[in-house]
Symmetry: none
Subunit: 175 residues, 2 copies
Amino acid sequence: MSTRLAKIENQNNRQVTFSKRRNGVFKKANELVVMTGAEVGLIVFSPANKSYSFGHPNINETINKYVGEEKPSSPSSPGIDKYVEMFRKANSRELNTRLNYLQDQLEFALNLKSKLKEINKNVESQQEWFRDPIEKMNYTEASMLKERLEDLLLKVKSYGTERGYSYENGRWKHE
Amino acid sequence: MSTRLAKIENQNNRQVTFSKRRNGVFKKANELVVMTGAEVGLIVFSPANKSYSFGHPNINETINKYVGEEKPSSPSSPGIDKYVEMFRKANSRELNTRLNYLQDQLEFALNLKSKLKEINKNVESQQEWFRDPIEKMNYTEASMLKERLEDLLLKVKSYGTERGYSYENGRWKHE
DNA sequence: GGACCTATTTATAATTG
DNA sequence: TCAATTATAAATAGGTC
């Protein structure tokens, strides 16, 4: 079976996989901590909304440290509302869904890599369709995408600061 | 190699292992999300104190949900306006992590070009298993992939244009 | 649910270029 | 350093009890 990255439809299988993989992720997180001295905070809510967590040295401190970094900064910028709006779109669930979808598709594409290794015949012509779209995925563009979104976020945050919002303990507050 | 669970003493090896395993944990977390519909928040600080995070659907909401369980009460502010809510959800590193992850995968995908050259000839009869998934991907998934990326890039480009940048040959220029 | 199997796939430490 | 490969250990889907 291909084990493609996709939601498991069968409810029972999904639950079993959740338990197994949840343990797997926690184990990996722990190994990362022990082997490299990293600081980790991990929270998981099951589909049934039960929560599980792991943290080292201490999950609450890790969360606070992380949230503390979220405090906005930076100067202002004109016409910021456009960026706010753009950011709203960029950060919407729609984008998450699309990124998930992209990841899904890329996983699928990557699966081809191992299969291709098994083939020792020339199929140049059959593969033209594939080569073309891949080549158009300019890596530089992906990098720019990341940088631009990062920039947008800074602007959005300073916008918030200018209007008297502050970010504390994972929440924005108006003063 | 025994891969004993212990701190890696050699500084260089530790750094290399940190990067590899950090990616591994994020990948596992993402798989858990996609396959089982779990909600996950993951924060990692490197030994050098750089932070990385992953969350789905949104790391800050997940943190708030978790912290809320730990510390009940504290009714959230009443008339919280939509922008405040939006800002609360904003999280640059979450997107960065996702995009970095996508970029890593894109790099792999781009390598398919050279891999394809390893292939020699005629896959017609012996590779039915291979042809089928490829054709599927050609008309649906591959085109979606390309389309999604271009769509995302379009947003980025329009942002740049408004700010007086132009995008040519994979590079941004001012004025 | 959980504790075992076990055929496969995946992750990754070490190595090579 | 850095990417790429490879040999091996680990994870895990799908069973069974």
